[in-house]
């Protein structure tokens, strides 16, 4: 729940794929799920290297 993370002051927040499967999906095939997961993790790694001044939400391209 991104607004909660923003409120408590988490600085780098990557929008994941849903409450019940943050790094997965109910609709995708296992291969596509893994691709989605890879994309979110890579975005998280990029976010770690990104300068931020305040809580920032990074959404998937």
């Amino acid at each position: 729940m991104t607004p909660v993370a923003v409120m408590v002051g988490a600085n780098r927040i990557v929008q994941a794929a849903g409450i019940i499967h943050p790094l997965g999906s109910a609709e995708l095939s296992p291969e596509d799920e893994k691709t989605l997961r890879r994309r979110i993790v890579e975005q998280a790694l990029q976010a770690l290297r990104t300068e931020v001044a305040r809580p920032t939400v990074f959404t998937a391209e």
Partner: protein, 351 residues
């Protein structure tokens, strides 16, 4: 409730105890019979309701530098005087004094089980440090109207000592302690909300019933090391635990977290894990734990050199209805462990 006059012990610093100014701030705890210095105003405010049987004096520097030890020494002097109530300060804007007042009152309550009250101005650091544990009355910045300030301290102190019900912080003049208690209001929430909205629309002042969260900003260090040389750890509050939940992480209001090894693992085998989290439907992440903790992808990134190392321990807790206090503590403990292990950055996954 007319009764026996209460035995009251006062705590004052070197100045209000009339020993001297800054040059006496190093003085250690001492006690005098009866009311000395500012404690005389307390006696005046008490009238027949109480007697200041002793005044404990301590220098501000002694208290600030010795911390807990100074409090322990003062506590011994307080205990010996057998009070029904302890009144510390008022400390106004004097920071070392305010912090010492708060610390002493907290110890008196916790260890001697005796009611205590203190007072200081809103910006005194003692307020933020102690208002949750101790009743801190709001005073002005200076001692110009000592008796008036002390009168409010004494009034609240007497209620505490007699076990009388307290009014709201606004009514009694103390800083909100940040605890809530259910009461029966004068009107239903629906009626109160309608009235509040009409006030807001008309530009009239209104009193919101819930304080806005005030989370202090968190520093945001950037990972400067290239990813190829960095150690990345995975942490989750989505409730991943090994089968059998060996650390007994609670399904709700968790106070514990676990440290689970992924050394040598390219992936998480679903059969070896479980999930007690009660805040969401966990069947998806039980079916495939990578939907919560992406060990498979992280390991691949490590193997092809995209990250330097995947830390061999995953830290996990259950993040539903976790109190702020426990969350902060667990976060701090996990962070300390990760730093000691040479981890450079963390990916925290949450629902």
């Amino acid at each position: 409730m007319a009764s026996e006059p209460l035995r009251v012990v006062c705590y004052v610093n070197q100045f209000f105890g009339q020993l001297g100014g800054e040059e006496k701030a190093g003085v250690g705890p001492q006690v005098t019979d009866g009311a000395v210095g500012a404690a005389r105003a307390v006696q005046q405010a008490l009238g027949d309701a109480g007697t200041v049987v002793a005044t404990v004096i301590c220098g501000d520097n002694y208290a600030a530098e010795r911390g807990e030890r100074a409090v322990a020494e003062m506590l011994a002097l307080v205990r010996a005087a057998r009070p029904d109530l302890v009144i510390a300060g008022p400390a106004f804007l004097a920071g070392r004094y305010g912090v010492a007042c708060g610390a002493l009152c907290a110890a008196v309550q916790a260890q001697l089980k005796i009611p205590a009250v203190t007072g200081m101005q809103a910006e005194n650091p003692g307020v933020e440090l102690y208002r949750r544990q101790v009743h801190v009355v709001a005073t002005g910045a200076e001692a110009t109207r000592m008796l008036a300030e002390v009168t409010r301290l004494v009034a609240l102190g007497l209620k505490l000592a007699r076990g009388e019900a307290l009014g709201t912080p606004a009514a009694e003049g103390y800083f909100a302690r940040g605890v809530t208690r259910n009461v029966v209001a004068g009107a239903s929430a629906a009626d109160r909300a309608t009235a509040m909205l009409l006030d807001k629309l008309a530009g009239r002042p209104f009193a919101s019933e819930v304080p806005r969260p005030a989370f202090p900003g968190v520093p945001a260090p950037r990972l400067i090391k290239p990813l190829a040389g960095a150690t990345i750890a995975l942490v989750t509050d989505g409730g991943l635990v090994p089968q059998g939940n060996p650390d007994g992480i609670e399904a709700l209001n968790a106070t514990r977290y676990g440290a689970y090894s992924i050394e040598g693992k390219a992936s998480l085998e679903a059969a070896q894990y479980d999930n007690p989290h009660r805040g969401y439907d966990t069947s998806w992440v039980k079916q495939d734990p990578h939907r919560l903790v992406p060990v498979d992808v992280a390991r691949e990134l490590e193997q092809r050199g995209a990250i330097g190392k995947l830390h061999e321990t995953v830290y996990s807790t259950v993040g539903v209805a976790t109190t702020l206090a426990h969350s902060a503590r667990m976060g701090q403990e996990i962070a300390d462990k990760l730093r000691a292990a040479g981890v450079d950055a963390v990916i925290l996954t949450s629902t």
